[in-house]
Subunit: 339 residues, 3 copies
Amino acid sequence: MDFTGKHILSVGQFERADIEHIFTVADGMEPYALRQQVTRVLEGAILGNMFFEPSTRTRVSFGCAFNLLGGEVRETTGFKSSAIAKGESLYDTARVLSGYSDVICMRHPEEGSVAEFSAASRVPVINGGDGANEHPSQALLDLYTIQKELKDKGRKLDGLRIAMIGDLKHGRTVHSLMRMLGLFDRVQFVLISPSELAMPESYIDTARSQGHDITVTTDLAKNIGNVDIVYSTRIQEERFASKEEADVYRGRFRLNQAIYTQYCEPNTVIMHPLPRDSRADANELDNDLNHNPNLAIFRQADNGILVRMALFALVLGVTDQVHKTARPVNWFHSRSVNN
Amino acid sequence: MDFTGKHILSVGQFERADIEHIFTVADGMEPYALRQQVTRVLEGAILGNMFFEPSTRTRVSFGCAFNLLGGEVRETTGFKSSAIAKGESLYDTARVLSGYSDVICMRHPEEGSVAEFSAASRVPVINGGDGANEHPSQALLDLYTIQKELKDKGRKLDGLRIAMIGDLKHGRTVHSLMRMLGLFDRVQFVLISPSELAMPESYIDTARSQGHDITVTTDLAKNIGNVDIVYSTRIQEERFASKEEADVYRGRFRLNQAIYTQYCEPNTVIMHPLPRDSRADANELDNDLNHNPNLAIFRQADNGILVRMALFALVLGVTDQVHKTARPVNWFHSRSVNN
Amino acid sequence: MDFTGKHILSVGQFERADIEHIFTVADGMEPYALRQQVTRVLEGAILGNMFFEPSTRTRVSFGCAFNLLGGEVRETTGFKSSAIAKGESLYDTARVLSGYSDVICMRHPEEGSVAEFSAASRVPVINGGDGANEHPSQALLDLYTIQKELKDKGRKLDGLRIAMIGDLKHGRTVHSLMRMLGLFDRVQFVLISPSELAMPESYIDTARSQGHDITVTTDLAKNIGNVDIVYSTRIQEERFASKEEADVYRGRFRLNQAIYTQYCEPNTVIMHPLPRDSRADANELDNDLNHNPNLAIFRQADNGILVRMALFALVLGVTDQVHKTARPVNWFHSRSVNN
């Protein structure tokens, strides 16, 4: 697939070769994200960063990715004061806003809204999250992170063993991740959740038909011992009748250093779509894991920059030119994507 | 008039020659807006985009116009958390903010506020809308659009026939447009509104004294048949005693494809200041006109970029230098201002 | 102290030599702030301007300072929709956001929050205000302004005579300013406030132990006659039992042209941390002082740009390179930092 001029709306639009191509381009962005070099390939281009639903980190991540390619960012946050709230159609909004920029990243609270918007847009649109539906750059950065973490251990996405934990019924990220992993070979999925929050059958059926191995369970301790990746997600209180009922579940699907040490293989990689709730009673992913070198959650965020830079370079057709304008960085930089 | 260093506050400050000069400069911005070329003429300059009242499209349009000239944009949105809300005078705000940027675009809910602000500002100020008072860049982009649409048909602003429809009493855009058209020769104005929402006498008297032809009517069907432009505006519910009463009027001043086909000359251009309310009961400007090639509403928005680029280039005195830094665009671009 | 890669969190981290170094760098920024020249030294660098509490002028000032060095700005405003509000720890926020930019400026409503954030950040953090605690760039710009104003009169920070007026108990700015002035020699502090709002003893004791001269008084008229600087601050209504009680105090600690003429030495410099409340009953710092050439309040704001440019250049280690990329400004510029 040639990405030039295309919308990025759904993980469903990618073949395995597309994903591998995105990841190769993302690898090439590392010198810029690590501030070893600067590129100005998109100097003069404008990203319309249209967040009709707030999301600081996704918005800033897209914006920084575009700036790192040399482009400018104009943005909006919130919905209440937007013309859409006053009855303007997504068609009109798209026709107007797409006249202002070279590419648009859009987040919107309603499912399907970004696709509807993109149909009227005159520039490529990247879905930055449309309600419970899709958030393809999150799915891509998760998969990219898994691949990178495995590579350091001499393993690949084919043959991956992954445990997904928490609310697998409503979790947009685990659904997308499962769909994309399905494109690879012989994946072992261990799906750990309260039975009320189990992975929908359709995802399981699809993965089985692709030849993958699926385990569905409510028992965390017994099932996280033979996996490469533990992917933890939040169990949201509002899914339950009471806080007490939610707390029971949260305690049971929690991960901390003691549980990790007792049940996981050494070097099992811990992931989470962030933000995590770090309040004492959240029982999600404990802060005592913060210095565990296998905690990959911040590397996920760092990889998000690489993946989003890759998406921009691909839809704007400049992957071949990124390095031509490269020059050294002349200011202090201490960061490392992998520290 | 030499625009360099001047504030742009009101359509009243322009002579006909000024308007024609702005439009010539706007024409020259097309290669940059169409992404055929990039200019960096304002690289290093900063626009203070101060929106003390929200307006996504106007704010983003000004910001993109400045970015397209190579400059940076710093901005604020909203009023509640501003120092003005805590008792700071516009004088103080202006003295402080004008020390930060090279030019300021300001929107504010109160009439006269932008002029008061500009009096204390040490940099040029462009009025981005001050309550019910003025929004000169909107008026300029409307007039610029009319001129461009007519040019394609071998006609000019002199001798223009225009119908203005809707709330002509409160509409800031139709007031400004009528004032500016008054500077041209032999314009035929057809003013179509409920009698409660008629164009104020002062505008009519001025236009008559300038030798223009004015028709005032409440009947849409009989009066849109001999015009070059139909300029439709919203009839806002809050102007009426009840929703029911408003609905009666809205139905009567609505434009859709059937009405257009039955009553208008072929190629009559349809304009609207946007946003339009596209909800089914809004009865404003129907979505079934979306593929009518004479629907110019999105070209209006596109032309807004050209006009705002021109205003920035003029007040910062760089019109002669824009093209000197021009270079080709190296990324994917599909857009056309006139598509 | 070598500032490269360091966090700027508190005025307590500076020695006298550090302050003098910052001021020398700030002096060198004047050609860029005055738009005599443009520098692109930080082209490609990104500032994360993270304002978890609104402050238009501080946010825009930091952003413009970074733009003036050639860098890009990504920012956030407000707290409610942030991940922190949903239970994310400052540790997580810092780890994520510091992967996006080269330097962070952060404002947050809670004392100590910025220091906690900086401990987990992988890039230098500048405190843009953490509740009642610190706002070091404000303190630096105040001190820088004093030095500059005195220089024109042939005087220095050593031997300075300064009156601080208003709420000296809660005022973050006067506390920080007093601490920093304490590093210089033989300062005469005249502390004028209602006794309920007197400067805390700890600040007085420290200054006395450093050999400075302190006068504590409730009488404004008798005590502003022999000083170089009058530094006025707001007396906030909410500190008192009633508006009436507050009004009594406000009237008594007010400064206007008549009081200035009657009691101050000629050329006494008037300062205020801004914003000032200019409503008629605020009784703070009267608008009739606006054309008094000794009113330095807007020069303070202008100097803020210079000081913030200096801080960015220092923590990113580019002070030696700023001038290497200098080039002339090709657009209209009328501003003068000192007008």
